[in-house]
């Protein structure tokens, strides 16, 4: 089952994080690919740029951003896009992704992935901006479902139907964050399996896995821990439905050793191959 761009299943990757630079340069670990947080490399010519260049020579790299603000009603920031495009050229990035969200208005960046009302107005607005952005970047844009902590009363679409409709209207693809589906399903009380079952198969080029923090009343998407079992079950379901898709383990807070992060990412291989019954009895 291929996506419509024939972008490859890169295997099991990890984020390129500062705390692991030394280890990566010394060991060149046998990880399949790296995802970089684009903003961490846009304006630096120092060690991060040096490590990135060496990494991009040896591994496939995908770029993942947090400041595109595709849902904002502020004007598109073309200076930012220019730098993204240059970085993508330099690293031979396999694709560029960001989130279905807005990060600020009135020229301010809150540096948070703020939720959209899922309305017809939002759909038209985001679709138009996606087209503008991918025209400028001369490549498709991939949007990730964010973890959200509130829902707007005026929303008329579910998030999964909104995303599915958006892909058709705008031509964008998807980065499906399975942990975010789970987090939002708890926070808003929907069925996460229904969500992943409704995502158009041919639009997904990448999957995110991550740990989170359960606060009792809600779950925060902290990327600070191991992936929980229900998220692995969702991952298994996505694999059964969509086949092998480039999978990345996000670990951004209380980051352990690179080997621990990589081992967590490689659990995904096991969940791909182990049928549910055997997995249950093995667990």
């Amino acid at each position: 089952m291929a996506n419509r761009w024939n972008l490859p299943d890169l295997g099991f990757g990890a984020g390129l994080r500062t705390v692991h630079f030394q280890h990566i340069l010394a060991e060149w670990p046998a990880v399949d690919w790296f995802e970089i947080l684009s903003e961490n490399f846009l304006d630096t010519g120092g060690r991060p740029a040096y490590v990135l260049d060496l990494t991009a020579e040896r591994y496939p790299v995908a770029m993942h951003g947090v400041s595109l603000s595709v849902g904002s009603t502020d004007p598109v920031n073309f200076e930012y896009l220019r730098k993204l495009k240059a970085l993508a050229g330099r690293t031979k990035a396999r694709w560029i992704s960001d989130h279905l969200c807005w990060t600020g208005v009135a020229g301010i960046n809150t540096h948070d992935l703020l939720p959209m009302p899922y309305t017809d107005e939002s759909l038209r607005h985001v679709a138009e901006r996606v087209r503008t952005i991918s025209d400028y970047l001369e490549r498709p844009l991939f949007l990730e479902n964010p973890s959200t902590y509130l829902e707007f009363a005026e929303s008329t679409w579910t998030e999964w139907d909104f995303l599915a409709e958006l892909t058709g209207l705008s031509g964008c693809g998807l980065l499906l964050d399975v942990n975010n589906v789970y987090v939002s399903s708890f926070n808003h009380g929907f069925d996460p399996f229904e969500y992943v079952d409704r995502i158009p198969v041919d639009r997904v080029v990448q999957i995110h896995l991550a740990g989170h923090t359960h606060k009792g009343t809600h779950i925060l998407d902290t990327h600070s821990d191991h992936v929980v079992d229900p998220v692995w079950e969702l991952y298994r379901r996505v694999y059964q439905r969509m086949g092998g898709i480039a999978t990345l383990l996000e670990w951004d807070d209380s980051i352990p050793s690179f080997d621990t992060v990589h081992a967590e990412a490689l659990k995904a291989r096991w969940y791909r191959t182990m049928p549910q019954q055997e997995a249950r009895s093995a667990a």
């Binding site: 120092g46 208005v105 809150t110 948070d112 309305t119 902590y149 009343t217």
Partner: protein
């Protein structure tokens, strides 16, 4: 057209201003946001408000670790929140969020150790700028040997990009070094002319001095100064004598021991009782 003229725009402007500034918003939130099983609309919005401040304060902590150490986390965080309210991020990157913090601190009244705090802030800003600058080529001094002497006066030197010059009122780099970068340190702490002082020494010098202080003869003590050169050892003794670290030196057979005594006088503090009271 105002950017918030659309429904989506007005929702975003309202939400951002609450996230940044707070205020009474329960009614608006109830109209805009669905409650969850466990949380009221405003409580859900407050999750974003709480994370906003935390994220920006954390970014500033990462850029100013010395200031955090100097001021303590509580005071630093308080100042960081005030700073962010006055100078919100307007960039796609958090890297430059703290660029105006030194300038901001210069206007804050009631800072503890204000002069030192500002010097340290300027140093840490320069460090973040140097960290991110473009890598330059490095000229070699050998270049100069190829330049005829009559052309020297016209030479122009262009520094690397990753470099800043600072004039500070305090040696803030010593604090930043000491507080943030662990380093095995051996000190002789002593008093001289009633002022407390300390002398940082190498491990061999420390081992040698320890042996001397234990009463071992010089030849034993020197053996402890693992592979130190004779000239080095002479240098240490010169420093130690000039700082007055020995009260006496005794020969193995002491026919003239009293002649070698140095610094035997002990001055005493004038006692408080000796001062005539008012």
């Amino acid at each position: 057209m105002r950017l918030d003229a659309t429904r989506l725009g007005s929702v975003q402007h309202w939400m951002q201003s609450y996230i940044r500034e707070g205020g009474a918003a329960a009614d608006e939130a109830a109209a805009l946001i669905r409650p969850s099983r466990a949380l009221a609309p405003l409580e859900r919005l407050d999750i974003y408000r709480g994370m906003y401040e935390l994220r920006l304060v954390e970014a500033l902590r990462a850029d100013y670790p010395g200031l955090v150490r100097l001021l303590g986390e509580d005071l630093f965080d308080e100042l960081a929140r005030l700073y962010v309210a006055a100078h919100p991020s307007r960039s796609y990157t958090l890297n430059r969020l703290g660029d105006r913090l030194p300038e901001y601190l210069a206007r804050v009244e009631g800072l503890p150790k204000p002069g030192f705090t500002r010097a340290l802030a300027r140093l840490e800003l320069a460090e973040t700028l140097v960290f991110d600058e473009e890598e330059s080529l490095h000229a070699s001094a050998e270049f100069l040997t190829g330049v005829p002497a009559d052309q020297w006066s016209g030479l122009r030197f262009r520094p690397i990009s990753a470099l800043r010059l600072l004039r500070l009122d305090y040696p803030a780099h010593l604090f930043a070094d000491a507080a943030l970068r662990p380093k095995k340190t051996r000190l002789i702490v002593y008093r001289r002319d009633f002022a407390v002082a300390s002398l940082s020494v190498s491990e061999p010098a420390m081992a040698l001095f320890e042996a001397l202080a234990e009463g071992r003869p010089l030849s034993d003590a020197v053996e402890r100064a693992d592979r130190a050169k004779e000239s080095e050892i002479f240098g240490w003794f010169r420093d130690w004598f000039s700082e007055g670290l020995f009260q006496s030196v005794e020969a193995a057979q002491p026919p003239r021991a009293s002649a070698s005594r140095t610094r035997t006088t002990r001055a005493t503090r004038p006692s408080a009782a000796a001062n005539p009271g008012p």
